[in-house]
Amino acid sequence: MNRRLLILFFCFTAGLFARAQKLEFVLTGGSGSFAMTDIKKLNSDLQETVPFPTKLTSSFPMTFQFGGYFAARITDHFTLGLIYAYNSTGSRVASGDYSGTYYFDNILTGHSFGLLSGYRVYQHKSLRVDLQANLGVVITNMEMKEDLHVADTSISSSYQYSSTGFYAEPRCEASYSWKYLKAGLYLGYYLNAAGKLQTDEGQKTTTATSWSGIRFGILIGIHQAGY
């Protein structure tokens, strides 16, 4: 069923692109915040369970994210396209003293694939402001690592999890065009319906990943003349 929908989606998009005369390809780079509520709770539960004092030295900080989109101008105001974004964040619970060290790391990477729909709300010469409503799926991979070194004993374990969830991202984009080039800024909010993590063997957990948070950055791209 999902495969058929995907094929239908691509046929629909390809049709639009074939009809459209004005295309653009844009690369984006920026940063964002990440909710990760469940994994933050997982970390605090772990800190209460571990029999020695620990500190959360890193908790899902804003990191560099990049992506891009390929869009077609369907009407004077309306744009439709495909959008991709890469995010990575994580956390660390650490402890150390003369007797040894302990680290509990979570490393998350998220690939967002979606449909971009934009509406031009303002234009003055080459300066444009677009409002976008982007929808899609985010596929998350999470690596959970635990390392304990005490005296001459070392215990290391690593587990892989993955999740899939839907997202919606209202975004405002201001850009300036010059000949075939385009550059600008964007600001948005990423709403992620949390996807439950599951192991490589398909065993589901009760912990979900949530990439929800603000997004901002710069964009640079190329487009056809008269875009």
Binding site: P53, T57, S91, R92, S95, D97, S99, G100, T109, V150
Partner: protein
């Protein structure tokens, strides 16, 4: 001109960007702890001195005085041969010397106790570090009635 390696280079470049942008956990939390070795540790069997007359089936309480430290385990040796090992959660525990020996003989019994460092370190909390203290007793194993 078509350059077949270009696509491969593009994919490799993209992968390189992905890897370089992957979050890398940061931060350390080092606690500068100091260890103070326990002083005045005592291993006693209340009501007995260095010589213990053991009768069959009789248990003796061993009391370890170690202030704020905790006893992790004890070992009992008879003539330098380990006869018992137990993890404990109290500074007082019971041993049954007749279980380790025959009757009608004199033995050298050594009680060895492991005490935590109390430093609060990772090793201390996991019970992988500590101090060993031992005390020797002369054990006189009384003749059992069944031996007569």
């Amino acid at each position: 001109m078509h350059f077949p390696g270009r696509n491969i280079l593009l994919v490799l470049f993209s992968l390189l960007i992905l890897v370089s942008c992957e979050y890398k956990p940061k931060g350390d939390y080092y606690r500068d702890l100091s260890i103070t070795p326990p002083t005045g540790v005592t291993i006693t069997i209340p009501g007995s001195n260095d010589t213990l007359v053991s009768t069959y089936g009789h248990s003796y309480m061993v009391s370890v005085g170690c202030a704020n430290h905790s006893v992790l385990f004890y070992r009992v040796y008879i003539n330098d041969v380990q006869k018992d090992f137990q993890k404990v959660k109290s500074n007082d525990f019971f041993i049954e010397p007749s279980a380790y020996t025959g009757s009608g003989h004199i033995y050298r019994m050594t009680i060895e106790v492991g005490i935590n460092t109390g430093s609060g370190s990772i090793g201390d909390n996991l019970g992988t570090e500590g101090y060993l203290f031992r005390r020797e007793f002369i054990l006189v194993a009384a003749v059992r009635n069944t031996d007569n």
